[in-house]
């Protein structure tokens, strides 16, 4: 049962997502019947499930929400902007109620009462009517405190009640006579008198007689007419309501009379039958023995955590849902790890075969090629399992925008693009906090006040855009606002005041923008309760770096600011170039390398004692000698013949990394260093190569920062 409860909360997340989608469509002017229906069904399903678990608060609010939405469904309520805005707020509260039901906590009662009264006003309910409606839907509250999986207490208790009903406690038994005469309609609705009679027999000891008073002669027999009726003598301790419950479904489809014959008298029942209004010649045509007491019901829940349940697509497509299997995340992670080991193993095997000097035409070599291809395919497939669309993340941000804009009194619309872009589940989870902060920042600092916007000739409504896309093997997420852009003189002044830069330091626009990422920097003259929650952009940057990502800013005065986050698709593997530097083997992510060059004598030029550039076609690119930079080898006297990897950064910066040799190009399994060493400048992670050697994976962006003039705090230790 706990599994079903957990599954309910997962379903709630999906339903809340569907609700958000539908509301967004309605907000965009697509308030067609099906969209309203989708929103209604989402709330309705949450209510239904919540009722099953006795989550009264959730049920009550969902009920009011659904009732108002039903008015819109029925066409009595217009999908006006204000109403949709209220629905969004109700969706947020519903989401909170789900969270509180799952994790505990409190709800702001003032907010709830306010929303409830607005809903009731819209639905034309007065308090009294709403109250009654809620009562109509009684949460059942299945007990979850099961002593064991094979016992469902309420079921057993109820079965015991049935047992009691059939136990002959003579002094409690009643003797009743029931006449039951079905209408033809009863048969047409799929009801079966035999089963009803059996159910009656479950209430006590019964004797059933089929009366044939209406049965015509064979030649006059009409198969569709009502000719059968039954008379049942029942000795039971069940009351009339319990007896009528058996006939609940056929109410109106039969004639039913229940006559109290009197207290049970085992010897007297025959007399009572003769007293019944039957023709004298009425004789029993059929007799049904009382049903045996049903066995207590013992639920048998499969322990398999894989539930066969077809999940609905998260969007509002009405296509046939594909069958899906829900799998515990731990199992997937275990598989990801094992596949990682497989990749390493395959790589080691390839190296051994290579070292044995076998020719490339042997069966072993071709088999190994195939093995390599298959390993790669398996790895891709496993990574796909972990991938999830960023949609859920974006939807959470929609709420942040609503709350933040209402807090600071700005009108803000969130525009999203590329919600279907998929990215590793862990990355999505860990992006939530940094994105939340960036969105708050965009609303609070990025966008101007409505008055300033109008004065600048802009629409009063500000726009925050959230975009996701795939670009050269990475995921790019952009947070943009159409505000006033970064106030660079002010940023510079603050940085100077705080001693972060010297007053006369010559900085480019990009460098000024990047000051925002320095620890302790805050442009807000006073800390607002919105974005100033003790988290600065430096924390955001660190969080992104920890994900193997980078963040850059572009800003145009008067037009707005865009933060661009570039993330790896997965945290588990990467395509890398294996290079030799001194006696060390290093891996450089392939996605960062735009080309490799072999330098001529005149290509490298010195700009100063420690600064060199390399000529690449018509431009000069800073030269970084990895050996010296990382402390592996002394400075070179000449760069003639040196091998260079040309690295490109998202913001257009480039650098040339000098290495001693290129060994290979291959997929490597990322083994994090953070847990053991913390953040090591210039290094993203480590990997195990085919020969079992450990190699560091470089972080080219971090190295580039170094090339742009910032000094490296310390040199790297040697590995291996």
């Amino acid at each position: 049962m706990q599994e079903i409860r957990a599954s309910f909360f997962i379903e709630c997340e999906e339903l809340l997502e569907a609700l958000q989608d539908a509301l967004q469509m309605m907000e965009g002017g697509e308030a067609d019947d099906e969209t309203i229906n989708v929103a209604f069904r989402a709330v309705h399903s949450i209510k239904g499930g919540a009722g099953a678990f006795g989550l009264d608060d959730l049920v009550a609010f969902a009920h009011s929400f659904e009732t108002t939405m039903d008015e819109m469904r029925a066409g009595r309520l217009e999908a006006e902007a204000e109403t949709i805005a209220l629905f969004f707020q109700c969706g947020d509260l519903l989401s909170d109620l789900v969270r509180v039901a799952r994790d505990g906590g409190d709800i702001d009662d003032a907010v709830r009462s306010n929303l409830l009264s607005q809903l009731e006003e819209l639905a034309g309910q007065d308090g009294q009517a709403a109250e009654e409606e809620v009562v109509d839907f009684q949460p059942m509250g299945i007990s979850l405190d099961l002593p064991a999986i094979d016992g469902l207490p309420d079921l057993e208790a109820d079965s015991a009640a049935v047992t009691e009903a059939t136990e002959t406690e003579a002094n409690a038994l009643r003797h009743v006579e029931i006449r039951f005469s079905p209408e033809p309609e009863l048969y047409r609705s799929g009801n079966e008198p035999l089963f009803l009679l059996r159910a009656l027999a479950g209430l006590g000891e019964s004797t059933v007689c089929c009366t044939r008073e209406a049965l015509p002669d064979l030649e006059e027999y009409d198969g569709t007419a009502n000719v059968m009726a039954w008379q049942i003598e029942l000795h039971t301790n069940a009351d009339d309501d319990a007896i009528r419950d058996v006939f609940d479904f056929v109410d109106g489809l039969c004639s039913l009379t229940i006559t109290e014959v009197g207290p049970d008298d085992p010897g007297g029942s025959g007399d009572e039958v003769t007293a019944a209004p039957l023709p004298v010649d009425a004789e029993p045509e059929a007799s049904l023995p009382a049903e045996p007491v049903p066995e207590p019901i013992r639920p048998q829940m499969s322990e398999d955590t894989v539930t066969q349940a077809a999940e609905r697509p998260a969007d509002t497509q009405r296509s046939k849902p594909g069958a899906t299997v829900r799998v515990d995340l731990d199992r997937i992670d275990r598989m990801v790890n094992l596949v990682g080991e497989l990749v390493i193993n395959q790589s080691m095997l390839a190296q051994s075969v290579d070292a044995s000097g076998l020719s490339g035409n042997t069966k072993i070599a071709s088999g190994l090629d195939e093995f390599q291809q298959l390993t790669r395919d398996i790895q891709d497939s496993v990574m796909l399992i972990r991938a999830q669309p960023v949609k859920s993340l974006f939807q959470r941000m929609a709420r942040i925008v609503r709350e933040a804009s209402s807090d600071v009194g700005k009108t803000v619309r969130l525009k999203t693009e590329g919600e279907g872009t998929e990215i590793d589940k862990t990355v999505i989870e860990r992006l939530s906090d940094p994105l939340t902060h960036m969105i708050r920042n965009a609303v609070d600092h990025g966008l101007e006040t409505p008055d300033d916007r109008v004065a600048a000739g802009k629409p009063e409504e500000g726009i925050v855009s959230l975009r996701a896309s795939h670009r050269s093997g990475r995921v790019i997420i952009e947070v943009a606002d159409n505000g006033g852009g970064i106030n660079r003189p002010k940023v510079r002044q603050i940085a100077t005041d705080k001693g972060l830069i010297s007053p006369d330091q010559d900085l480019s626009d990009t460098e000024i923008d990047n000051l925002l990422f320095l620890p302790g920097f805050s442009t807000a003259s006073e800390v607002s309760n919105l974005s100033g929650r003790g988290v600065g952009m430096d924390v955001v940057k660190n969080a992104i770096s920890a994900l193997g990502g980078r963040i850059t800013i572009t800003s145009t005065p008067g037009e707005g600011t865009t933060f661009s986050i570039s993330l790896p698709l997965t945290l588990a593997v990467l395509d890398g170039m294996v290079v030799r530097v001194g006696s060390e083997t290093l891996v450089v992510p392939l996605s960062a390398i735009s080309e490799t060059l072999s330098l001529q004598k005149e290509d490298a030029r010195a700009l100063g004692p420690q600064t060199q550039v390399v000529r690449v076609r018509d431009t000069f690119v800073p030269l970084i000698n990895l050996g010296t930079e990382l402390g592996y080898s002394p400075p070179r006297e000449s760069y003639e013949g040196a091998i260079v990897l040309l690295i490109s950064h998202e913001d257009g910066q480039r650098a040339a990394l000098v290495v001693d040799g290129i060994e290979d190009q291959r997929q490597v399994v990322i083994k994090g260093l953070q847990d053991s060493y913390g953040h090591v400048p210039g290094v993203a992670a480590a990997t195990i190569l085919g020969d079992g050697q450990i190699a560091l994976i470089l972080d080219p962006a971090d190295l580039l920062m170094n090339a742009s003039g910032q000094s490296r705090p310390h040199q790297l230790a040697r590995t291996g």
């Binding site: 599954s7 379903e11 309705h44 799929g190």
Partner: protein, 121 residues
């Protein structure tokens, strides 16, 4: 009681609960997530009883019952409607559509099993 039950509901939680309850009562449960899916699952299945929700995407409960009743082999199969309300109007609509009976959500497991016994033996 080894009944073969087809349960149609768009809420996964309700489907899970139905399966839990019915399997626990020794029944065999087949699940579908909307009316259209229900018709697909029904094809080739010989359920002793069908349970269906009303408000579902693609094909709702009324449409589903119509389509089931239109097939001669399923004309007499009992169909129970799962509803969140028990209004007379809804009962009458369900009955007009060809439903055998109705169960109010959230359902009481014991009552559900009893109801199934009433309509399907």
């Amino acid at each position: 009681m080894s009944l073969n039950v087809l349960a149609v509901d768009d809420s996964r939680t309700i489907r899970d609960m139905l399966k839990y309850t019915l399997n626990g009562a020794g029944m065999t449960t087949h699940l579908a997530e909307d009316g259209q899916h229900g018709l697909e699952v029904l094809d080739g299945l010989k359920p002793d009883v069908i349970i269906t929700d009303i408000n579902m995407p693609r094909l709702d409960g009324f449409g589903f019952i119509d389509a089931v009743r239109a097939q001669s082999e399923y004309r007499a199969v009992p169909i129970l409607v799962l509803t969140t309300e028990s209004s007379a109007e809804l009962k009458s609509r369900a009955r007009d559509a060809g439903a055998t009976g109705w169960i109010v959500k959230p359902f009481d497991p014991e009552k559900l099993v009893k109801s199934l016994q009433i309509v399907a033996g």
